[in-house]
Subunit: 316 residues, 2 copies
């Protein structure tokens, strides 16, 4: 990599798409965003990306060569360069986005899964810097993961390794709203899952609780957090349960790949100790003796908006 | 590796130790065994190995150079060359076996975990030949595993990756007899676990069954197999349940590392379709759509006694 070259990183989310132009040492020189949902047709979306990003490229290309464009996307497959059957995006089926962006911009373009991009960003610039073996868990609307083994991102045979959000942690447990699987990590530990937990617990809770004042549609992970910070017992129980299930799942992951660290990332981690403490406690409890106290459990060190942009920029 | 060189492979089991002298293409020229349990002191054990193996080395060393000695052992750590806190061996604590054997034989010696050795053997000579990503599950007295990713055995940060037998598959389930963990794969799908399942099912089974004729101490995995082969419904139910739990666990493993194949190995696999059919069915049922029908589930292609000897021989 040219020490002075720049790369564009694009982070596609279900709601917003964020992008930035990034230096090799992880400095974002300029960034922007467009609403992903405004473009039901993928060609319009690629046009919009071009409309917003090409002026930035023009502005910086005389300072340093532009290496290319890296994209992190939900259900992005690094092997094929396509977004494949993404339930949370408007574009259905298989979308050969890397090829389309490459042809539009006339620059090399590499695509990856969003959680894998975040793991790449964390490895290059954040809490996992220099680690050979770690697992990044993204706790947002869904639960994703990026796994590093032997210093490299784990892709597996078909590029889709690391779907840890869909592993079962509670046999015959809560039905997942879109996959049809029961008792999966995402069904409990995503922001969506936390709301379901709050509804379940609220139904049988006899005492007073701030959570009881919320209508179904206004009850969000953020609302649960706000109530918990005001000392609400029921809201705190939601975090305790979420951390418990997460800790159980993490113990299984540790015994699979023996990582040096697990990095938690995403909206749910804004809750800090509310989620960290129960997770850590239950993780340790479920480990075989030889793994106890051997794995660091930490939050991401990168700003929420930046990790995936940074990670995507390292793809090229 | 010298094309004509030979290596010694040693497979340490809780009951017997098997060894052989192996060609680079996986032919065992001569093999032997000693009872592991006859040597409560590790120095006596190393002396016994020397007494039995050095004559074989003498016999072949003029035909081809001897590269060294590879050892597969329960709780063997490749990074340290030691057997560490093995619950199923007489030698307690940390045993620096690779160093001891090296000094005794004056030959290079490399040690590994027994399941990892079997995976190495399968990768070099068996059903996993040429595969970059696969998982080997050993179903014997215990449940072990060896995981290949990117064409290499997965060790993780401390050399102890792949303790899949100790991952939890049924939350708050059956207590494991030695680890204290609840609902782990080994608690159900080892030969020991199958006997516990048979006892549980027998207690509530109203109908006639051959299994009811066995005393507690005579009820083994082999006995369950024999009854199942005679068409006994209860015995078949034991295999069905074992395969169900195994299939659930394998689905989680697939979504972790996206392997091309899962290879089942060890005593329990002698049951053939009795274990394969329910496992395969439940595995597919628990996979995310993108993983369905994408992973081969197969039995090992190496003789039970040979896989670990062959794998150990490839260590040097």
């Amino acid at each position: 990599m040219n020490k002075k070259s720049l790369a564009v990183g694009i982070d596609i989310g279900g709601t917003n798409t964020k992008f930035g132009i990034v230096t090799p040492d992880g400095k974002i020189l300029e960034e922007g965003r467009i609403p992903t949902t405004n473009y039901p047709h993928i060609t319009d979306y690629v046009d919009a990306l071009y409309g917003h990003i090409s002026p930035i490229i023009e502005k910086y290309k005389d300072q340093a060569p532009i290496r290319g464009i890296g994209i992190g996307a939900p259900n992005g497959n690094h092997f094929t360069g396509s977004i494949e059957h993404a339930p949370n995006l408007l574009w259905k089926g298989i979308v050969p986005l890397a090829k389309m962006v490459n042809e539009k911009f006339n620059l090399p373009c590499v695509l990856n899964n969003d959680a894998k991009s975040a793991a790449l960003g964390e490895h290059k610039f954040g809490a996992a810097k220099g680690l050979k073996d770690f697992i990044m868990i993204t706790l947002g609307t869904g639960v994703g993961s990026g796994i590093f083994v032997n210093g490299k991102l784990l892709y597996g045979n078909k590029g889709d390794a690391g779907e840890l959000g869909h592993t079962v942690v509670r046999y015959n447990g809560r039905l997942h709203w879109s996959t049809g699987l029961k008792g999966t990590l995402e069904a409990y530990c995503s922001a969506t899952g936390m709301v379901l937990t709050a509804l379940e617990l609220r139904k049988k809770y006899k005492g007073k609780s701030l959570l009881k004042k919320y209508k179904r549609k206004d009850l969000t992970a953020k609302a649960i957090y706000d109530c918990a910070m005001k000392g609400d017992k029921l809201a705190r129980d939601v975090f305790k349960f979420t951390g418990t299930v997460l800790g159980e799942a993490l113990a299984n992951f540790v015994m699979f790949s023996s990582p040096e660290a697990i990095i938690l990332f995403g909206g749910v981690t804004a809750a800090g100790d509310l989620i960290m403490k129960p997770t850590k406690k239950v993780l340790e409890k479920h480990l075989l003796t030889e793994f106890k106290d051997a794995v660091r459990l930490e939050f991401s060190q990168l700003a929420q908006n930046d990790a995936a942009i940074l990670g995507a920029s390292t793809l090229v």
